[in-house]
């Protein structure tokens, strides 16, 4: 059960000491043999900030962060820069990266049940991180592991650190993962779809936990999800990714109130709501293009209801609409949501 850590809910970022960003991604790109997965990503994370990254499959949202930490396997090339406190992580030596991973940037993943080593006790697995990043050992290590368990809300910590992962439920396993990620006292926690595999009531618990931990530990959070509302609840700022690029970045309130990019609008309209009205959903026709089959110009143009002739000419650049609100669409004017046309006849045709 989660302990009460204090007020949760949207709003203010923590006071910044000197305004310098914690992490800065500049023109980040990831190229696989079959095609580009991520292109031209610019993103800044300030200390203590909660940033949401939203995208569907093929958006490159996970690949971005795996590339930043050098965790991508196989044949690939990473371009651009990923600055942590000004030092570039791309191409950094492995010894440096292994200190960053878990020590300065923690990472948690989607399926907690299979993300933990099944044949080792969870206390040992947390202990590994404690030993590595904080040089702890012996009884001090065990005490700290218990404290971390308490911090993430796992009851009966003293007994449970000696259990194996399969002896926990999904939600508890995710708490274990979070505890393990926090062991190195990172300044940034990247959570890649942390609640997607969990039941909705457990999802709520975990999101609340992440929020509380962020405030208590003054830790920055990058929350990656395909679900805009999940990200909307926890994050101050949201970046929407499509086909490997960021297409819109805005403070949360503004993104929901006045989404500028047609894809963002499409996502908001396509998601079912709790209004309880029986109606058809408003889908986005077509499907995400494959990396090797990108359309010329704007990647979203083939699916965009507002596409015009020049959309296929060149890839639009990310431009500023207002302070903090950037969009990759030459025709977006940020004036507000335009109701999607009721082309129901066309809307359910499958993509090319």
């Amino acid at each position: 059960m989660t302990q009460a850590f204090g007020e949760t809910g949207g709003g203010a970022a923590n006071a910044l000491t000197d305004g310098r960003p914690l992490v800065e991604l500049r023109d980040l790109s990831v190229l696989f043999p079959r095609g580009p997965a991520v292109q031209g990503v610019d993103l800044t994370i300030m200390p203590g900030e909660a940033v949401g990254i939203v995208g569907e499959s093929g958006s490159g949202k996970s690949v971005t962060w795996l590339a930043v930490l050098g965790l991508l396997a196989g044949d690939h090339r990473v371009g651009g820069r990923a600055l942590l406190d000004g030092a570039d992580l791309i191409g950094a030596p492995n010894t440096h990266l292994s200190q960053v991973r878990g020590g300065r940037i923690g990472l948690i993943f989607q399926d907690p049940a299979s993300s933990l080593n099944p044949v080792r006790r969870v206390g040992e697995q947390i202990g590994e991180a404690l030993r590595l990043h904080r040089g702890m050992s012996g009884p001090a290590l065990r005490t700290e592991a218990k404290r971390l368990f308490d911090l993430v809300g796992i009851p009966d910590a003293g007994r449970r650190i000696d259990l194996y992962p399969h002896e926990f439920s999904g939600g508890q396993n995710q708490r274990v993962m979070i505890a393990m990620a926090l062991a190195g006292q990172p300044e940034l926690l990247v959570a890649d779809e942390p609640t997607t595999a969990l039941d909705v009531t457990i999802q709520a618990q975990i999101l609340s936990l992440l929020e509380d931990l962020r405030r208590e530990l003054n830790m920055a959070l990058v929350l990656i999800s395909h679900d805009l509302s999940v990200v909307g609840e926890v994050c101050d700022r949201i970046s929407v990714m499509y086909a490997g690029r960021i297409v819109e970045t805005a403070p949360t309130d503004r993104l929901f109130a006045r989404p500028a990019h047609p894809y963002t609008r499409g996502l908001l309209d396509a998601a079912p709501s709790l209004a309880g009205d029986r109606r058809h959903l408003v889908p986005i026709r077509g499907a995400v293009p494959e990396p090797w089959n990108m359309p010329p110009g704007c990647a979203f143009a083939p699916r965009c209801l507002h596409a015009r002739g020049d959309c296929g000419a060149a890839m639009p650049t990310l431009r500023d609409l207002e302070a903090g609100h950037r969009v990759r669409c030459p025709h977006a004017d940020g004036s507000g949501r335009i109701a999607a046309p009721a082309e129901t006849g066309e809307l359910h045709h499958a993509a090319t």
Partner: protein, 329 residues
């Protein structure tokens, strides 16, 4: 007469605890009663372990109930595997969550859509080809996609193929178990719309099983919430969402992420329950903030409240249904 009626269904699994332990009884489904009228959509919502998938399978006769009865058009389902049961397959079909797993990777889409017609001996070869073409078209697939293999299509396209196949024999009942959970949001919307259009055109009744309360609420005529094998609330979706009567329904609604929320969110405490170790009395009482003495040893019955909804909660019948955010859970 309802098309499908489930009366007091029970399903108990007997498992072994680990490699050396004794036997365990898992009450997956306890006393579930539902009815579905022709051409309507009934949504069944719950989290993992609540028994909704098991209920769906029992409704089709894919699993034998250990108690209670399943009536299709007023008559009990024939025994599974019998020839009567097999011929009933053309009137009731199922759509599962994983479209890739539901399709045979060695057959083309068109062959698989045609398969039910072949099995039930419907139409000549030419008629079948025509029907497959029209089904593919109706589900938004192109003829060249019909000639492709499952792995050559995207998730959304595969689910359309599964739908086309399920509709091939013109069933009266479709049981959909998490049909769009594995799909991207934008594709989900496409497939759900398709399902709704076809449902309206063909007058099919749908039992829509999902964990996604929002989605179910938007498309269903009636919603039933399940917890630990029992139905805890059942009724009109709008009423359910506006003023949930059962504390678990309220917890589910509170758990839905809402970007507009300000201030702390009331959380449902505790872990999802273990169907092998069910609490006495009301199954929800260990996690319920409002549990009273009799909740711990008397299981509440599913009874109607003022607006006609069915609720299984002692407190709901004592007082009025409380509004959604009013009480911290």
């Amino acid at each position: 007469m309802p098309l499908l009626e489930l009366r007091n269904l029970q399903r108990v699994y007997h498992t072994r605890k680990g490699a050396w332990g004794g036997k365990d009884e898992v009450h997956a489904v306890r006393d579930v009663s539902l009815s579905l009228e022709r051409g309507r959509i009934l949504g069944l919502v719950g989290e993992s372990g609540c028994g909704k998938s098991t209920t769906g399978r029992m409704a089709l006769g894919l699993e034998e109930a250990d108690g209670g009865a399943v009536l299709f058009e007023g008559a009990p389902l024939p025994a599974a595997g019998s020839s009567d049961w097999r011929s009933l397959r053309r009137r009731m079909q199922m759509v599962f969550q994983d479209p890739l797993g539901a399709l045979d990777r060695r057959l083309t889409i068109a062959d698989q859509v045609a398969e039910p017609l072949v099995i039930h001996g419907i139409g000549s070869a030419a008629e079948r080809r025509e029907r497959v073409e029209s089904l593919l078209h109706a589900t938004g697939l192109r003829p060249d996609q019909g000639a492709a293999y499952p792995h050559e299509l995207s998730g959304g396209q595969r689910q359309r193929a599964v739908l086309a196949r399920a509709l091939a024999t013109g069933p009266d009942l479709l049981v959909c178990d998490e049909p769009v959970s594995a799909l991207d949001v934008s594709i989900q919307a496409q497939v759900v719309n398709l399902l709704l259009s076809l449902q309206q055109e063909m007058g099919i009744a749908i039992l829509f099983i999902s964990h996604d309360l929002k989605l179910v609420g938007m498309i269903s005529d009636e919603v039933a919430i399940m917890y630990l094998g029992r139905i805890v609330e059942r009724g009109d979706p709008k009423a359910l969402f506006r003023a949930p009567a059962h504390p678990y329904t309220r917890a589910l609604l509170n758990a839905v992420p809402d970007p507009a929320r300000r201030g702390p969110r009331p959380l449902l405490a505790g872990e999802p329950p273990n169907p092998a170790a069910q609490p006495s009395g009301c199954p929800f009482h260990p996690r319920c903030a409002m549990a009273r003495a009799d909740c711990t040893h008397i299981a509440p019955e599913l009874k109607p409240i003022a607006d006609g909804r069915l609720v299984a909660c002692h407190l709901a019948h004592k007082g009025a249904a409380v509004a959604r955010e009013a009480e911290a859970c």
